[in-house]
């Protein structure tokens, strides 16, 4: 309870502004598949506060990446809408992809500079910014290396640096640490925590790891199985700046447990059996489709 009491006194600086950064209303996305029209997402309703670190958890294939792709402008919704409140004149969003998606043909430095070279064109302080983020993420010694020469953790840092260097209003992260081993993952979480507390901006962070969600997030959203919609919402009461020590506290474990209970009953179904949603309306018959 100590943490909750402190919350009243020390405003974490994220809940004060009332205008939501992102407003999602009845958002849906369908995909055409050989078996028919598949609803991957929604209807989803959500508000993301300005400067908030929002974590989204949910079962595999529930539409989390789809949601993020819509937010990044890579995918149009097929229903509902998402409105983003733009404040600056710089890039609106940048994404850290699930599989890193850094370019094998660019060196570390060139990868990080990429976001500054395309689009609006390089700002005057481009070199400084690239240098800063290479330093900040411990990549300076590898600036001339190609990704194939780096470890998984290093590649992930390149991906994060590439997104942060453009100073986006919204940072979108799709399971950024999923491919890392448990120890490296904890180290990266600690680093991201420190990084975000230093450079606050709106973050939408997708993860499978509840521990990660509670440590990093101001709020954790639980999504149902496909088509994903929101079935749970948890404010994370711990004050900022947080440190990794939080992991050991009782409140931390309790909240994690609470989210897990919600996820298990709402998203995976109480009976543990995950029945895939049946596809509707077949659009066409595949020539070589096997009869089932």
């Amino acid at each position: 309870m100590a943490a909750l009491d402190e919350l009243d006194e020390i405003d974490p600086g994220t809940t004060a502004r009332t205008d939501p950064k992102i407003t999602v209303k009845g958002l849906e996305r369908h995909f055409e598949t050989p078996d028919g029209l598949l609803q991957a997402l929604g209807p989803m309703d959500l508000e993301v506060r300005d400067g908030e670190f929002l974590c989204i958890v949910g079962p595999s294939g529930c539409g989390k990446s789809t949601f993020l792709r819509i937010a990044a402008g890579l995918l149009d919704p097929t229903g509902g809408e998402m409105a983003v409140n733009r404040q600056g004149t710089g890039p609106l969003s940048a994404m850290v992809f699930q599989d890193y998606s850094i370019f094998p043909w660019k060196t570390v430095e060139q990868n990080v500079r990429f976001g500054l070279e395309v689009g609006a064109g390089a700002p005057a302080d481009a070199e400084e910014r690239v240098g800063y983020w290479l330093d900040r993420l411990g990549l300076a010694a590898f600036r001339r290396s190609y990704p194939s020469e780096l470890s998984g953790g290093m590649r992930q840092r390149v991906s994060i640096a590439r997104a942060l260097v453009v100073e986006p209003e919204i940072l979108l992260m799709d399971e950024p640490f999923a491919a890392l081993d448990a120890q490296l993952r904890m180290l990266m979480q600690d680093e991201l925590l420190a990084l975000w507390q230093e450079h606050r901006r709106t973050v939408v962070f997708i993860t499978h790891n509840l521990d990660e969600a509670v440590l990093l997030g101001d709020r954790v959203i639980v999504m149902s199985k496909r088509p994903g919609h929101i079935v749970g919402e948890f404010e994370v009461p711990f004050t900022r700046p947080r440190t990794a020590d939080l992991r050991g506290s009782g409140e931390f474990a309790a909240l994690e447990q609470e989210i897990w209970a919600n996820l298990r009953s709402e998203a995976y179904g109480a009976a543990d059996a995950v029945t895939p949603a049946a596809p509707t309306v077949p659009t066409r018959r595949g020539l070589f489709r096997r009869a089932r």
Partner: protein, 293 residues
Amino acid sequence: MTTTNDRPLAPPAPAGSRIVFAPKVSLADRYRRNARGRRIDNALRFGVPIGLLVIWQLAAMLDLFDRRFFPSPGDVVESLGTAIGTGVLQEAALVSTYRLVVGFVVGALVGLLMGFVLGRVRRLNVALDPIISALYTVPKLAMLPILLLIFGLSDLPILILIAASVFFIVVISTTAAVTAVQKNYLEPAQCFGATGLQTLRHVVLPASLPSVFVSLRLAAGNAVLVLIGIEFVQGGAGMGYLIWNSWQLFDVGRMYVGVVLVAVFGVLFQTLITGLGRLATPWTRRGGSASSH
């Protein structure tokens, strides 16, 4: 099957026995063995062709073949000297090189340009793909009479045919390489607001370069084939003409000189392009296999 330097596993040990896994050879021995393996590889690489030449020479000296049809390597070298001495060889080589380089460069440039456009503009590809497939299958030599009719007896028809043979290979491979560029490389470009040209420069071009260079190499080899074919029937100059003309004069040695030089030239041309490809794709050289953690 695995290829290791180690002996196969021993048969299953009886129950209760202790199985020990320990080095069977010392590290120094293992290193020496690997070095020896590389020496053997090199000996084979160079030794086999040289050995074959030696056998050929010996067989010719023992009159195992009819030397009128199968001159010895020594005879061929002698003919080479004569052909260089009279200057016919240099002239033929110069003409053929010129035709090859001009035809190749033009065909490759147009093929690359069009391949990138077709790969990026799906509708255009849908519209032009059947035509390209159809024209690709037309034997280039069959077009020679038509081109001669149109352009007359100049170098132009030859250059056009070389360029065409290169163009089709390059355009088809480049289009395929560009359409195969993975979504996970295109999405970051889109995400950071890259324009079409920026996406091309930063993503599509480098992503497709390795396969583009493979196609350039194949096209180079193929261009040599087409060129020699054309020079057999038309041209009055060039390496193909030299070979054909030697046959008519029954100068067998010079015939072999021509064939061998064309082969050597083909190898050099392809090596040059492979080398350029390695320069243009430095990320495929260093590091190599990616370690995950």
